[in-house]
Symmetry: C2
Subunit: 326 residues, 2 copies
């Protein structure tokens, strides 16, 4: 399918989605739906740019569609919110109609698993690079919202799973390109990079448990801990030895480099959240069926402006700063 | 302000906005707010790309900010919906931090006039072109939604104001560049192109009056009439002699070319809506204080797939087809 006009392309792309449950289908000036009564609206958006956030020689369009929705779902997970309705904006180069259809297949894969409905979007042409912007609207209970500014001194810091897998996958791609897949142990790292799984069930469980503070690990753990500490006005200590590292990353890169990937690599989409020490056991038991939680640090006190200390065996640990997207 | 990291830039941009009325400010994983009870959520998104949708040598960043919100507000107007909460994604080239701040000033200008709150977004770097994506969520009464698929045989077609002004402004810019502003009569045409005014009050009034069918004129009138006819399964006749043309466009380009700009130019952001013939007088009186309505045609019958006939003094009129964005 090539050389489609905008409206024919939208028709074609719509066929790659499940039909909306209610309200207007794609094709009117805007999408409409009935919000769940008594809930907060929770909304986020993320833009992915070819050459900055992905490379088409490494990533299939279908994986790219999955990931473009996943990064937004992860934001909702970090709020304890549920999806949701998505709007997808695509800037396509000439001849990318087929790519757009495969990308929509990847969006649908994850939308169907998470109860997300794609209700609209915009499709425009560009001289390049390819751009995907997803805006996602979900909902949450008003008194059950997870925020990044609610960490309290004495809280423990918990991660929902291993970190550094996506960064390790990216490092393999940077070294070997698509041939990275032939390396023993590479598959789970590349999967973590291409098809991250948003922690929606854990986020919802944390909200249900009445916890208050979470952030998703889209940058490295060090950078996310800094955001949480700054927003909450607290000092945070992270014991780097307690960070859960993927065995494949340690095997392929060694422990020190795997640790750097966890601290600074980014795109893991685990949740980093706080738990009052007295509730730790109860919370870990409750979420244990949903993820592999690890206690990785604690909130050591108040600190205007926020502070993060990394420690290894009790001594300060020097890490490269988390990468900055702009 | 240059060489800001992403988080410093977001802080800086946030200072160019009015603070949110409730809920979370910019800076958490997602924005949150309380939807109005009993309303539909209505959402839309539009992506603007440098070189395709705008040129920085013709457009100030402040006008660009205004327009990027205006085109989305126009979609809500066409649904009879109210704004609203906006999410803004920006892909910036190195050194465009100052431009981004001016762009946010333009967003704020229109946001403040329309009750729109900017609650979040994403800011990423790009090698170019500059990209702005706005996602906008508003609300509407469930039984008062304007749709493009609700035109009925016997309805009259009405436009809320002159069309072709934006296309004429663009033609001046294509001919003369920024010097176009020195041409007598150019100012209102360039303003129509750079700072379109979304017809929110008219859209709300049409919904309140119980009308059913509207579309905004983002492409030319001919193209929008086709969308409306196709979605509604009707045949539409437009009397091109009745199209309200801006006097400045007629003076500068002549009547025939001004008419082509109205039919095919696009970006006028008037509303095209249908009225049962028996209610015409009542409806025109009701919206007369809000706009300059013109009856421009009628729905002549049912037609599977939709059809549009342009007539001039009763004879068929051949127009260039509306431009296709992709």
């Amino acid at each position: 399918v090539t050389n489609l006009g905008e409206f024919e392309l939208i028709d074609e792309l719509t066929r790659h989605l499940d039909p909306p449950l209610e309200g207007l289908g794609i094709g009117d000036d805007a999408a409409a739906w009935t919000p769940a009564p008594g809930k907060l609206a929770v909304a986020t958006t993320d833009m992915l740019i070819e050459g900055i956030h992905f490379r088409l020689d490494w990533t299939t369009p279908r994986d790219l569609g999955w990931k473009s929705l996943a990064v937004n779902l992860s934001d909702l997970a970090a709020m304890g919110a549920r999806p949701g309705h998505a709007l997808i904006s695509l800037a396509l180069l000439p001849g990318q109609a087929q790519l757009a259809e495969e990308l929509y297949d990847g969006v649908r894969d994850l939308a169907a698993r998470t109860g997300t409905q794609v209700v609209g979007g915009d499709t425009v042409r560009t001289p390049g690079p390819l751009i995907i912007n997803v805006a996602l609207i979900g909902d949450a209970d008003p008194d059950r919202l997870l925020r990044r500014d609610a960490a309290e001194p004495g809280d423990l810091l918990v991660l929902t799973g291993p970190v550094g897998a996506s960064g390790a996958g990216l490092a393999l791609l940077l070294a070997d390109g698509p041939a990275a897949l032939t390396r023993p142990g590479a598959a789970p790292l590349l999967a973590a990079h291409h098809r991250p799984v948003p922690q929606l069930a854990v986020g919802a469980a944390l909200a249900e448990l009445g916890l208050r503070c979470a952030i998703d690990v889209s940058d490295g753990v060090a950078s996310e801990a800094r955001h949480l500490a700054r927003a909450s006005g607290v000092a945070v200590e992270i014991d780097v030895d307690s960070l859960p590292l993927p065995g494949e990353a340690v095997a392929l890169f060694g422990r020190e480099r795997a640790l750097e990937m966890a601290l600074s690599g980014g795109e893991d989409y685990q949740l980093l959240f706080t738990v009052p020490a007295a509730r730790l056991k109860e919370v870990l038991s409750a979420i244990d069926p949903l993820c592999r939680p690890s206690v990785v640090g604690r909130v050591s006190g108040r600190h205007a402006g926020g502070a993060v200390a990394l420690t290894l065996a009790g001594a300060p640990y020097d890490a490269a700063p988390g990468y900055t997207a702009f």
